[in-house]
């Protein structure tokens, strides 16, 4: 941010990308490096652990309570995602 004399949220997309790339490739264990890699991992976990992230990759979880009774069918089979078990209790 110091480089651009502004808050991160006020930077242009190009400036943000440049800054993030610099942090990504900073010296290992430096503050920018640690900040980037921790934030990166956390953001991936938050997004891909959310309904929005699941929809983005067409994941129809969570695993329970329905499971995947159509597991033996190709994903695009019409009933692969809607099958339920017989005799379920």
């Amino acid at each position: 941010m110091k480089k651009f004399q502004n808050y991160f949220s006020l930077l242009t997309p190009e400036q943000r990308t440049l800054l993030l790339k610099q942090a990504e490739n900073a010296t290992e264990n430096s503050i920018p490096y640690e900040l980037f890699h921790r934030a990166h991992k956390d953001s991936l976990k938050i997004f891909y652990g959310s309904k929005q992230g699941w929809d983005f990759v067409s994941y129809y979880g969570p695993p329970q309570p329905l499971g995947y009774p159509g597991h033996d069918l190709p994903p695009d089979a019409s009933d692969a995602k809607t099958l339920t078990l017989e005799n379920d209790i």
Partner: protein, 559 residues
Amino acid sequence: MTDEVDVDVVIVGAGAGGSAAAWSLSKSGLRVLILESGPFYDPSRDYQTNTQQWEHNSFPHKSPGPAPYSFAPMQRLNPKWQHLRSWDKVRGLMTGNQQRRFGWRYHHVRGVGGSTLAFSGEAHRMNPDGMNMLSRYGVAADWPVSYDDLAPYYQQAEYQMGVSGPAKLALSQQPSNYLPAHKISYATSKLAQGCEKLGWEWQANPVAILSKSREGRPACNYCGQCNRGCPRRDKGSADLAFINPAMTTGRCRIKTGCQVRRILTGKNDRVRAVEYTDESQQLHTLKTSILILAAGAVQTPRLLLLSNSSASPEGLANESGQVGRNFMETLFWNSCALHPERLDSFRGVPSDGICWDFSNAQKTDDYIGGFRLSSGTLEAELGGPIAYATRLVPGWGAPHKEMMKNYYGHALCVGAVGESLPDDRSYIDLDPEKKDAQGDPVPRIHSHLADMELRRLAAMAKRCRKLLVAAGADTLLEEYGSYDVFSATHVFGTCRMGTDPEHSVTNAFGQSHRWNNLFIADASLFPSSGSGESPSLTIAALAIRQSHYIQQLIKAREW
């Protein structure tokens, strides 16, 4: 305090062996008390795979968590085996610039049911050829019990655990008594097709997972998350398969949160009591006429070594010097690749297909001992999107999102588990520095992979990659194995059974050669590891066989 409890048998540990022994003994009319250091798990409450957060946590260990242990420094890595380093697309080499093999984890669960609470249900009988490794090839030790001796007890264990599998037993081709095999997942069907191209035989893996509802338990719904605990109770973990029916006899009791610290000996080469601390750290002495240790191949030798006395200065039952020796681990490899077709490989029974073609206890030019191949995508925990995002898809921003869209559901993995042979440099001892909460030394794991192990591992890696190519996968994304990381669930051999008291700890029934009323009922007993067979079923079968032997001794008044 001295406990006044009127029981016939005290069992230490409620995993596969202790639970099966408790079931068999209590069914026969004997009164059993199990001391378990972990808690009970309630499947519907504790296993949370039905929430938005399911992928953030692996198995939900409850307090006090896994038992403490340590690793001794491991061997230096050799550039010759560079192709066996563990890596993924995001992190590169998993152990970075480390020059030594890394002691990552001895995977186990402390609790009623033990590690079966987190197992994927594989229920394998031993390959009879692998039970005579010493007489056939001059390695490991021969089993003092034959496959045929074990067969009736396998059948009992298979029924209790609810094993589903092929109509014929894998090696003998005898008819099985399994429930019908589960359908293999669509992803696994690609591996089956790959095997067919290669001329390898691929078949349904026998698993302790119900394919049909039975006795109030539902059939599996193929969520793929056995390793996080089964909330439906269709997986035959030891708590459901053995403990629940043992409790219904009214002759089995369990005390949880009890850490056994010492075994006390009496006259005439008999043990007389155990000392344990309860949840409030109060020390108890509990007398017993029969003691069964079933704490696993790391904690059982530790307890024996801790129980040294003037009568057994090198540790209890250690007259042979073999307690803690002959440690064998899970020699494993896993290769993961991208399949061009979306497979939704997060679905199905985790280890639903298996190839035994390389598992005969074979001798090749390179190595002795075999291995098996099996479907490995869910065993590798590549189920949810977070795993893909953090392990398989490098980079960030828009390109990362684009790749996620193209990759998700496409992962296809093959796992291999192989023979692990005893080595003088692999053993369990007491850590001279690290102590547990009670102030006792923790067990220390020494593990060394000799060159022959690495040659076998290289063959395993080669076959995994070959199968992925034949299955149509095109880009490797992640590989990991035992060469640079110790990561073992199955551990064996540290109180081996045998016919010769000079070279073994117990006889063929797991009874100490010297201490008549001391028994062992876990994988410590295994003289050899098998060539890829998962051990839970064999542990249970041995324990049931042992309990029949104990009943015979009692009837014959040989106490």
